[in-house]
Amino acid sequence: MEKIRVEKLYKVFGPQPNKAIQMLEQGASKSEIMEKTNCGVGVNNTSFSVDEGELVVVMGLSGSGKSTLVRCINRLIEPTRGKVYIDGTDITSLNTEELRKVRLKKLGMVFQNFALFPHRTVCQNAEYGLEIKGMPLDERRKKAYEALELVGLAGWEESLPDQLSGGMQQRVGLARALALDPDILLMDEAFSALDPLIRRDMQDELISIQERMRKTILFISHDLDEALKLGDRIVLMKDGEIVQVGTPEDILTNPANDYVRRFVEDVDITKVLTAESVMKKTEAVGYLKTDGPRAALRKMRKNSISNLFVLDESRKLMGVVTAQDCARLVQEESRDLASVVCTSCKTAHLDTPAQDLFVIMQDLGYPLAVVDDDNRLKGVIIRGSLIGALAERGGN
């Protein structure tokens, strides 16, 4: 279901916004408009939507208008023209009081430089939104503690923000937004001010929180790696316009234009592609219940492979057998395939990043099995095909 929809949104800063928009519609460039009307174009005719429970990253370099765009959504900045719908309500038409209610009920925001109130304790910061709502002290304190625990800050409730490290401060910022239990989280460069290592931790944390809470998140970032890691979809912006909207893989494998292509050129593709996207489907599997060593051998010969994955009746992976072992069983005239199944074979999950696959596959004598959450075999990866897949997608 659609949660946020932005329609033909413009934001022009300066004395003659209407004239500037007219010029934009006629295709004038930003600098031309600046020269003629003294107006700066923040956001230029953007439209996109965010579904419920989706994490969309708005991504662009500094000055691309992404921060302005997100501020237009909760109207910290008034849009010049265009509509913003949240749950079908046109935000741009609300009066101050109605807008305040929407902000209170539906929108949580996390800021780049944390924006914690220095005179309030961690707990008082986390409960700020609830306090504004008018929730009684006991109740809001309880919720604030829960939110702080969720972000891993239990025990720090009574500290002051400046006693905390940057990463912890941003956890408070996140807790402050989560305590309100809003439908929508707006995260403006939330992790950009953090050290790379802590940033990665926070990203992982956000992913795990998102798995549990399934909020609708609009995340602003200038870091492509971050966008690719977090985003269900990415909205790529340049000069106030949207250049491309798509899943991380779309953006990497089908860049819309040269700008996007140049942008994604340096991406380490192994971080983005997952086992699922490089694996091959395989028909050649053995079933423990029905197949004996002879059948297994025949399947291997037919597909010219020397190992065979063995499954139970619900396609759960039991292990792997080698041609050698099967041949020996045939010679011994045994029918017991189970006795030669190597059950400790290595597997990868569908979501395992391609860069980790190299490590797992090192010194592996057979292909790597890719399984889902229930250990069902979904595909296999052969080392040669892994490198091939990467070379093909990377394009460079």
Binding site: N74, R103, L107, F111, F117, H119, G129, I132
Partner: protein, 276 residues
């Protein structure tokens, strides 16, 4: 060709005359309130024997500043004043400072808040403050007389006008200095204007406002001394008497008394202001 003289002085005179004539009820009410206030403060301070008052002040200063040195200094200084026979004048001066400071803050801080919240108020208030701060202090003494006659109330009136600008300015500054991101955050979480003021802006502006309070007190003290010329009495009165009779010794004794009072007040207010 003669350019006619613009009657600036006459116009001001006429308007003050008009005010005196038609608003005497207001000045009388103001006068009554201040007189009572002053009587209460002064009476309370005179109720204690000087030695007890000095001891209590010393302890209070020590508690407030958490510095034994300043506590001992204030006891010694006040004892010196007592010894020089300036006790009554000092109490009178301190009472004048307290009452006029309270009034100045009562008007100044809310005005500063309004000026920070509303740009039209700001545009009216700021130029008036420039005038108030650059006008020589003596000039305020003149209109005070037709309004309130010679005496303490006139002194307090001119002191309030003289001492108020820093309270307004620094309150306004303190609120405007709150980082934009924090204001944005308060907005994003749906705070009303009032909640934003009370929960974010005033607490963060407090150190700056306290600096304004400190300046207001110091200005009030200096003006109360000058206001001796229109009958404020107190330590300033002693100085004024000494000038007229050319009594150097007496003049300096009263001057030292003023310095002691000023130092005690300044140290205490600075410590309170710099505390988180």
């Amino acid at each position: 060709m003669d350019i006619p003289r613009i009657p600036v002085g006459k116009a001001i005179e006429a308007s003050i005359d008009y005010l005196v004539e038609h608003f005497s009820f207001a000045t009388k009410a103001f006068s009554a309130v201040l007189d009572t206030g002053l009587d209460i403060v002064e009476g309370a301070m005179h109720a204690l024997p000087p030695w007890l008052f000095i001891l209590l002040t010393g302890l209070l200063v020590w508690r407030l500043t958490k510095s034994r040195k300043i506590g001992i200094f204030s006891i010694a200084g006040l004892l010196l004043i007592l010894n020089m026979g300036l006790w009554k004048a000092t109490i009178s001066t301190i009472s004048l400072v307290i009452v006029s400071t309270l009034m100045a803050l009562l008007i100044g801080v809310p005005t500063g808040i309004l000026a920070a919240m509303n740009k039209y108020v700001n545009k009216t208030v700021m130029p008036s403050l420039d005038v108030m701060q650059t006008m020589p202090a003596f000039v305020y003494l003149i209109p005070a007389i037709p309004f309130f006659g010679l005496g303490k109330v006139a002194a307090i009136f001119s002191t309030i006008i003289f001492a108020m600008p820093p309270a307004i300015r620094l309150t306004c500054l303190g609120i405007n200095q709150v980082p934009k991101e924090l204001v944005e955050c308060a907005e994003a979480f749906g705070s009303s204007r009032w909640q934003r003021l009370v929960k974010l802006e005033l607490p963060l502006a407090l150190p700056t406002i306290m600096a304004g309070v400190n300046q207001t007190v110091m200005l009030a003290l200096s003006m109360v001394v000058i206001a001796a010329m229109i009958g404020a009495k107190g330590l300033g009165g002693e100085v004024w008497k000494a000038i007229q009779r050319l009594q150097m010794g007496n003049g300096f004794e009263a001057g030292i008394g003023i310095v002691i009072v000023a130092m005690i007040m300044d140290r205490v207010l600075q410590k309170i202001g710099s505390k988180k």
